[in-house]
């Protein structure tokens, strides 16, 4: 094909072509390869523009702000070098904040993935009302976070609905949002109930993709349901477990509205997670520089955890082996 294309240039008459017309016979600028490249860039352009505008530029600005002290009232910005990074070590509240973040993330991830998988397994059967229960467990996902949390805020009051319900069976419930331990439990459970539907749906889809002949073969070999779950189901849905764990960890690290509405980070610092602390420092205390430093720390945590999970996938994700 290439030889055929070159044929006109090699004809004896080619030497008679005037000099000015030689360029017309040169290969065109818009070759099919260049067209493909351009089309590719045009396809990714909207997404790329979004990433540049809403991710790369803000991250770049956050890095710049973290190196400066900004008086928001006067607009005066002073370069302070690594002072804000050094302040991380001197912040007496930061250890409590990091501990609360870790407890919240671990609690949310374990409960969310565990409960999501359990619900998916239970609802991955044909029985009357299965669709109703799937809808029921998924419905909180579509409710506004703030509305959901406000309602739970009332229910978890000392004289609220949860303690009222416990009272009917003779249990005196704790003052959920006023004690450190129960406040953290309340925030975690509120978050899990609201978001477990997403993981449930993902697990349901994964479970329905597991070939039924594998279970038949295992049954013939005398495997029980526990063995079938651990040796067949779990390995085959492990890519979904990886996906949900990444989504859930990132989501947990970014949980803000639940904390802001339900506890405002209290009592004491028991529910002040890192993202809420970033908001407090940057937007309530007007420490934009220090808030940006904390935001970059949060970003690095998210990236590190995601990278770690991605690297570990080869060890436990079925299709990656």
């Amino acid at each position: 094909m290439a030889a055929l294309m070159k044929t006109p240039a090699t004809t004896p008459d080619a030497s008679r072509v005037p000099t000015g017309a030689r360029s017309a016979s040169a290969p065109p600028f818009w070759t099919s390869r260049r067209r493909d490249v351009l089309a590719g860039y045009l396809f990714i352009a909207p997404q790329l523009a979004g990433v540049v505008l809403f991710v790369l530029i803000p991250v770049g600005l956050a890095i710049w702000y973290s190196l400066s002290d900004w008086n928001v009232f006067t607009g005066e910005q002073t370069f302070v070098g690594a002072d804000n990074y050094a302040a991380l070590a001197d912040d007496p509240q930061l250890p409590s904040v990091l501990w609360a973040t870790a407890v919240f993330c671990v609690g949310v991830v374990i409960l969310n993935i565990g409960l999501g998988l359990l619900l998916a397994v239970l609802l991955n059967r044909r029985f009357r009302g299965a669709t109703f229960f799937r809808t029921l467990f998924f419905s909180p996902v579509v409710v506004s976070v703030v509305a959901w949390t406000l309602v739970w805020g009332f229910l978890l009051q000392d004289n609220g609905g949860v303690n009222g319900l416990l009272g009917t069976v003779g249990i005196t419930g704790p003052n959920w949002l006023q004690h450190g331990d129960t406040a953290m439990v309340s925030v975690i459970i509120t978050q899990v109930i609201r978001s477990v539907g997403v993981n449930m749906v993902l697990f349901l889809a994964a479970l329905q993709g597991v070939p039924s002949n594998l279970y038949e073969a295992a049954r013939i070999d005398g495997a029980g349901s526990r063995v079938m779950f651990t040796r067949i189901t779990l390995p085959l849905i492990s890519p979904t477990v990886l996906l949900t764990s990444i989504i859930t960890i990132v989501g947990a690290l970014q949980s803000f509205a639940q904390i802001a509405v339900l506890t405002s980070g209290g009592p004491e610092l028991s529910t002040t997670v890192l993202v809420y602390y970033v908001f407090q420092q940057a937007f309530e205390f007007n420490h934009i520089g220090y808030g940006s430093t904390l935001a970059l720390m949060l970003l690095s945590f998210v990236m590190l955890l995601t990278l770690l999970q991605w690297q570990l996938r080869r060890k436990w994700v079925f299709h990656e082996q």
């Binding site: 009232f73 006067t74 607009g75 509240q93 949002l177 309530e284 205390f285 007007n286």
Partner: protein, 423 residues
């Protein structure tokens, strides 16, 4: 190479045009007086339609006299996020020309973010600067210059649900009422009716600055007069917090943490709230309004204030200041007084205030507002109010447990806020 040059040229030209356009659009950034087509914007936290309508009426009358002002907009920002939204607007280069302010005033004044008003107001014909109540202007002044007009100066008072007290067979004498009597009657009302005793409105075990309405009666203060030293560890403050702690956990005169009770819905026997909250009263129950009860330190009064000022970041400082002078002149102050207790002595009589009140009598307003203002103190206010509030709250959370070590908690409050006070 040619293509690269052309591209660079196009980018440079576009940038130059954009910058030129931006500079052209910046208008009279210096705040000159000869500008035309001036658009003013005032940030407020009210969304009350009657109040906004009054502002619009005043603005329309001003614009009729000043054709250079093409529009005056009142931007309602949610109260809960007001400070955050306002500072974000300022930081983002989108500051309003005028703004209401509460506890943010100290930061704004300290940062020279507000335009001094005294000279303009004194120079305005008929404005009557000397008519302002001294206790009302103190909070918004520095070195003799007023930076915000205290458009709302509302004393805290004791609202009483007399129906609930009658049910609990409790009688109080407003002339000699003390905090101990309020606590005793509140505890009895709670025990008899199941409703709450007394509620410090908006406290909710978070906004601890509102407790100044109680601790001032015990002779306590959050910090020294110069704002440098924390005084939470004083014996008076310990006495005040012992009283509050007992009320919450021993006598149950005050609803405990995590329990909601709205006085205006009939859920409590007493509440401490600003007089401006009287609009929430309905005919659901019989009520009375008294000055704050006497504490161990004697009689006292506390006011909550809101001011309005011109931001130095405004592109139209001169016009904004002129409009503020018009909006707060004696005639317009009288109109605003129907919603906000005014700072002008000429308007501060029980009869004048009662003319605009649907629920309170002239005698009640004279006693609870007019008589209280001259010696009133304001709620604690300082630079970095949000940081002080949060760190103080974090430390005070340990107070709201039945077995709290009160002196130790108060000491931890000082440890938490003293570094901020010292800045």
């Amino acid at each position: 190479m040619n293509r690269a040059r052309k591209l660079f040229g196009a980018v440079a030209l576009t940038t130059a045009l954009a910058l030129t356009a931006a500079c052209g659009a910046s208008g009279d950034g210096s705040g000159s007086t000869d500008a035309t087509n001036v658009k003013l914007r005032m940030a407020v936290w009210t969304s009350n339609q009657d109040q906004l309508k009054l502002f619009d009426t005043i603005a329309a009358a001003y614009r009729a006299q000043h054709p250079e002002i093409s529009s005056i907009t009142f931007e309602s920002l949610p109260f809960d996020d007001y400070n955050t939204t306002l500072t974000t607007q300022i930081a983002g280069g989108n500051a309003p020309d005028l703004a209401w302010m509460g506890d943010l005033s100290r930061d704004l004044i300290a940062s020279d973010a507000l335009v001094g008003l005294t000279d303009k107001l004194k120079a305005t014909d008929g404005w009557q600067y000397d008519d302002l109540e001294a206790s009302a202007t103190k909070e918004f002044s520095r070195d003799g210059t007023l930076y915000a007009y205290p458009f709302s100066t509302s004393p805290f008072a004791l609202y009483v649900n007399t129906d609930l007290l009658a049910k609990a067979k409790q009688k109080i004498d407003p002339k000699t009422l003390t905090w101990d009597q309020v606590a005793a009657a509140g505890a009895a009302a709670h025990a008899t009716t199941g409703k709450a005793g007394f509620v410090v409105r908006d406290f909710d075990y978070k906004s601890w600055n509102t407790l100044a309405t109680v601790w001032t009666g015990f002779g306590a203060a959050a910090w020294s007069a110069d704002g440098k030293k924390c005084t939470f560890t004083s014996p008076e403050m310990q006495q005040a917090f012992t009283f509050l702690h007992d009320a919450a956990f021993k006598t149950k005169a005050m609803p405990g943490p995590g329990t909601t009770a709205d006085f205006f819905a009939g859920d409590a026997a007493f509440t401490v709230a600003q007089v401006s909250r009287a609009s929430l009263l309905t005919d659901k129950f019989k009520y009375a309004l008294y000055p704050l009860p006497t504490g161990p330190a004697g009689k006292y009064s506390v006011i909550g204030q809101a001011g309005v000022g011109v931001l130095t970041a405004s592109k139209h400082k001169t016009q904004a200041t002129d409009f503020l002078a018009y909006m707060t002149n004696p005639a317009n102050s009288a109109k605003l007084a129907q919603f906000f207790p005014p700072p002008r002595k000429s308007l501060l009589t029980g009869a004048k205030l009662a003319a605009d009140s649907k629920v309170l009598t002239a005698a009640q307003l004279q006693e609870a507002v007019v008589d209280q203002l001259p010696n009133a103190v304001t709620l604690p206010n300082h630079t970095s109010p949000a940081e002080i509030a949060q760190k103080g709250k974090t430390a005070l959370d340990a107070m709201w447990k039945a077995d709290a070590d009160i002196p130790a908690v108060l000491k931890s409050v000082c440890s938490a806020i003293e570094p901020i006070l010292a800045k």
